[in-house]
């Protein structure tokens, strides 16, 4: 295109095709929302809010890029805003703080387990799920996005609004913590 020629913005994706494409990722988004909120009702609400925001902003989505990562970004932003609004806990998990928490073995300041938590944990009966559940949120999300959802480091950095170095650092610490958690869960389970 010659320099200086006026260029119109591309039309937003067709509503029906965008809806169909976006809903292909519903289970992944719901799983993420459930990990973050720990309550099925809150997870459904968060996912619905995410889809509405994505639909309204679909003109800003670049066709051919990673739709799932874009939806994750909206979901995580929505979640962070909600937490900030509710002032229930820290919004940003500072790497230093998270690292100290991980060394101490606490779960990032999460409240005591609710009945929903216990139900969720009962369903996650194997050692891997138990260990994942015990990771601080900032570590758990990075590990999950990389090793389960197979997102690139760059996409994870965008989704979580952190530098790429932080992604790599949290990934390394998260995996080590998870490894230790799996071993501990195995030791705790009578054979």
């Amino acid at each position: 295109m010659p320099f200086g020629r006026w260029r119109s913005s591309p039309p937003p994706p067709d509503a029906d095709s965008f809806t169909a494409d976006a809903l292909d990722h519903l289970d992944a988004l719901y799983g993420t929302a459930l990990r973050l909120t720990r309550r099925p009702e809150d997870a459904q609400d968060l996912v619905q809010d995410t889809y509405l925001k994505a639909f309204r902003a679909r003109a800003r989505f670049t066709a051919g890029t990673n739709l799932r990562a874009w939806l994750y970004t909206i979901l995580h932003n929505t979640w962070r805003n909600r937490r900030r609004d509710q002032s229930r806990s820290r919004v940003e998990a500072d790497s230093e703080v998270v690292e100290i928490a991980a060394e101490r073995g606490d779960t990032g300041g999460l409240p005591a387990p609710t009945p929903e938590d216990l139900l969720l944990r009962e369903a996650m009966s194997d050692d891997l799920r138990v260990a994942l559940d015990g990771l601080p949120e900032a570590f758990r999300e990075v590990v999950w996005l990389r090793d389960v959802d197979d997102l690139s480091y760059q996409d994870i950095a965008t989704v979580l609004s952190v530098p790429m170095g932080t992604v790599m650092s949290r990934l390394a610490r998260g995996r080590r913590q998870l490894h230790a958690g799996v071993l501990a869960a195995r030791r705790a389970t009578p054979s």
Partner: protein
Amino acid sequence: MRINTECDRFDELLALEAEHGDGAVVDPALHRHLAGCPACEAAVAAQRAVRKRLVTHRRALQITAPPGVRTRIAAKLAGEAHAEAGASMATGWGLRLSPLAAAAALMLVITVGVLPMVTGQSSVVLAAQLALDHVKCFLIDGDVHATPISAADAEATMRKQHGWSVPVSATGGVDDGHLVAVRECLYSEGMAAHLLYRVGETPVSLFVMPDTDHAVASVSILASDTVSWHQNGRTHMLVGPAGSRATLDSMARHLQLEAR
């Protein structure tokens, strides 16, 4: 805990290293370090083991959204699209829509434009929800070669699931129709009985719900035609593929006569 500053220098690369098989070189300096640092070597091995398990169990770790969530969200987005199309037409933005989107928006506006605005919109949203359920349920239970089920079996299912004593038509009121399944579907206001018919090879759904205040309407949405009516204290909606309006109208007439 590792406090070696050289270890810290390579800390970020350990995650990357753990994703490569033995022998692959992420960074030659890192490899030299690992050869002489058992702590980092063990950290990489731990990461590699964890990643391998997670990758292996990816599918098992995924959680499925509860039934009804997809339908509710799709209906919300259809409502958004409807409102968006109306706003676009009103402000002249419709000129910027693609021809296909403009045609779809025009079809929506013409189809529901004769209805009162408030009830009309809610009818469109209901039609959108049920149109999606129609497609979904036929994918699950509506095989074109499915064995027809009897009206008695369908009535027994509805009695068991809803406590409703509803006379069911085995043919949907048309000569080449037959009932292939009965399901229960979640919509925004509760549960609906869903009767799946094949008319020839055309899939047609009859949804029966507790009576609502939705306007009786013929709506075309999401590549589907719908016809609704109120009778005997319940709301009924027929849904078929686009272009099946004549079949739906005929079925609606016969079903209303049969239910009197």
